[in-house]
């Protein structure tokens, strides 16, 4: 069937009421700001909405299949892959992206720890890693190096900065052994 963007015969065929269903309007609270979004194509994912419509490009599009974790955001306080969420289904919910993690000019402890421990090379996966790490610490899964590795396994790093990422998470969680 033809896309409604083309306004071709498909839209006339299915009738006016149905045609309205191809488009959704929704409300979303992102990083504390309420957005009213109108005329959105039903196919738009939360990831594309954040990047293309709200221009919050900190959230990265890696694989777009839920395999790499680069698009990790918090949805109602829980970490999820934004590429696997249909924007329409997030209507009325609350999203935090990497742009919303810092308090003013003060970085989140996880962000500071990633800098201090060199938790990245190219940086592409870093926003997802940071969002995942912040959630992991809240979930109480930073008890040991092994536990951190297991609960960070949904975030891939092609530069393989894993040892530094684990160190950063331990530091931010206060579970890093010193000396």
């Amino acid at each position: 069937m033809q896309s409604p963007d083309g306004l071709g015969p498909a839209v006339t065929e299915v009738g006016a009421e149905e045609a309205a269903d191809w488009i959704v309007n929704l409300t979303l609270r992102v990083n504390g700001v309420e957005y009213r979004l109108e005329g959105l194509d039903t196919r738009v994912t939360l990831l594309d909405l954040l990047r293309e419509r709200l221009h919050l490009t900190g959230t990265k599009k890696g694989c777009n299949y839920g395999e790499c974790g680069a698009c990790t955001v918090h949805l109602d306080g829980r970490r999820v892959n934004a590429c696997l969420v249909l924007a329409a289904s997030a209507d009325g919910r609350e999203v935090t992206t990497v742009e919303g993690l810092a308090t003013g000019d003060e970085l989140h402890p996880v962000q500071r720890a990633f800098i201090e421990h060199d938790g990245f090379q190219c940086g592409f996966c870093t926003p997802g890693q940071v969002m995942s790490a912040a959630a992991l610490i809240n979930e109480g899964h930073a008890g040991s190096e092994a536990e951190i590795r297991e609960w960070m396994s949904g975030n891939l790093c092609r530069c393989s900065a894993y040892p530094q990422i684990v160190a950063a998470v331990q530091a931010a969680a206060g579970t890093r052994r010193t000396g």
Binding site: M1, Q2, S3, P4, A10, V14, E18, D21, W22, V24, D41, T42, R43, T45, N64, Y65, G66, G69, T72, L75, R78, R79, V80, N81, C83, L84, V85, L86, A88, S89, S132, A135, L136, E139, H141, R149, E150, W151, S153, G154, N155
Partner: protein, 330 residues
């Protein structure tokens, strides 16, 4: 991705009524459906978002002593629920070894059973011969890359495996999948929910268009149960083979054993013949246990690249029985 209309039914009855229309698809966690839409595996004209349906996101004790897990319970919530951890550890373990924390926060227990095979030919971005993707087009895996494919229950039409970890635990627990459809409720044993390719290789499970899973029911508690997942990476990887066991013991004697294997067939594979032999055996007699398990492997048939999965599955079954026996009863 083909354009689709989006709607949110407000009751199970309404969801089922709209769902029976051809080209409608249910959206719950979305972790599978969105990828199907991208790959063209599914091209619905109407997506019915059931994720906010009330009453399907609860875990409740059943009067008879079992547990009902609502279809919309997120995997991460099911795995960490007190009653699941205490009474059905095999299910909690299987869930926590599935996917990633982010995916488990989205995916639902009902939707998990509906995930489709990870066969690379089925999931290919360019359509390749695959009887599950295009009925009648053939099976590319039969003589292709099939190291991760079935050793039980396959036919020349399809050699794919079912990839769900929770489904293996549910099969070992004799769980029941409860569904809603226009004619009313249906109860499907978890051991029969997924279909083998012998009749209709294009099918994945028994659900019909518009039929909606509402709950998973677990019978009596199985505190002596364990899940073992063998995979090529330590985490965030599908199983090469997996094994679930639920035991009832009298001292060191096995009173009853239920064992299911994962990633060896297009459904969780119960070792029923071995289970009857294991009853009455001593858990300490490893060689006798191994022999008892062997009877369930008489009909194992390797493909060109996966003969290693047969000893791997047999050893996994043995190990998981011993692991379950070591758990102290409640």
């Amino acid at each position: 991705m083909q354009a689709f209309a989006y709607a949110r039914p407000t009751s199970v009855a309404q969801a089922v009524a709209s769902g029976t229309e051809p080209d409608a698809a249910f959206l719950a966690g979305g972790t599978e459906l969105l990828n199907w839409l991208r790959l063209g595996i599914s091209a619905p004209k109407r997506v019915l978002d059931i994720s906010r349906l009330e009453g399907l996101d609860r875990i409740e004790l059943l009067p008879g002593g079992g547990l009902s897990i609502g279809a919309l319970v997120r995997l991460s919530d099911a795995a960490q629920h007190e009653a699941v951890l205490r009474d059905y550890p095999v299910l909690s373990q299987a869930i926590l070894k599935a996917a990633s924390p982010q995916i488990r926060n989205l995916a639902t227990i009902g939707g998990n059973l509906l995930q489709r095979t990870r066969c690379p030919y089925f999931r290919a971005e360019e359509t390749l011969p695959c009887n599950k993707r295009v009925p009648g087009s053939g099976c590319s895996a039969l003589h292709g890359i099939n190291d991760r494919h079935a050793i039980f229950g396959w036919t020349e039409d399809c050699v794919a495996t079912q990839p769900s970890d929770p489904a293996v635990a549910l099969a070992a627990l004799d769980a029941v999948v409860v569904t809603a459809r226009p004619e009313g409720e249906r109860r499907i044993p978890a051991t029969e929910f997924h279909t083998l390719p012998d009749r209709r290789p294009q099918d994945h499970n028994l659900l019909r268009q518009g039929e909606l899973i509402t709950a998973i029911e677990l019978p009596a508690p199985a505190p002596r149960s364990e899940y073992l997942k063998i995979r090529e990476r330590e985490s965030y990887e599908y199983a090469t083979v997996s094994a679930a066991a639920a035991l009832e013991m009298d001292g060191s004697t096995i009173r009853r054993a239920r064992i299911a294997l994962g990633s060896v067939a297009h459904r969780p594979w119960r070792l029923t013949a071995a289970e009857s032999r294991l009853a009455g055996m001593d858990i300490g007699h490893r060689e006798a246990l191994r022999e008892a398990l062997q009877v369930s492997f008489a009909d194992a048939r390797p493909l060109s690249h996966n003969a290693h999965k047969i000893p791997l599955a047999r050893n996994a079954a043995l190990r998981v029985i011993e692991m379950a026996a070591r758990r102290s009863p409640r």
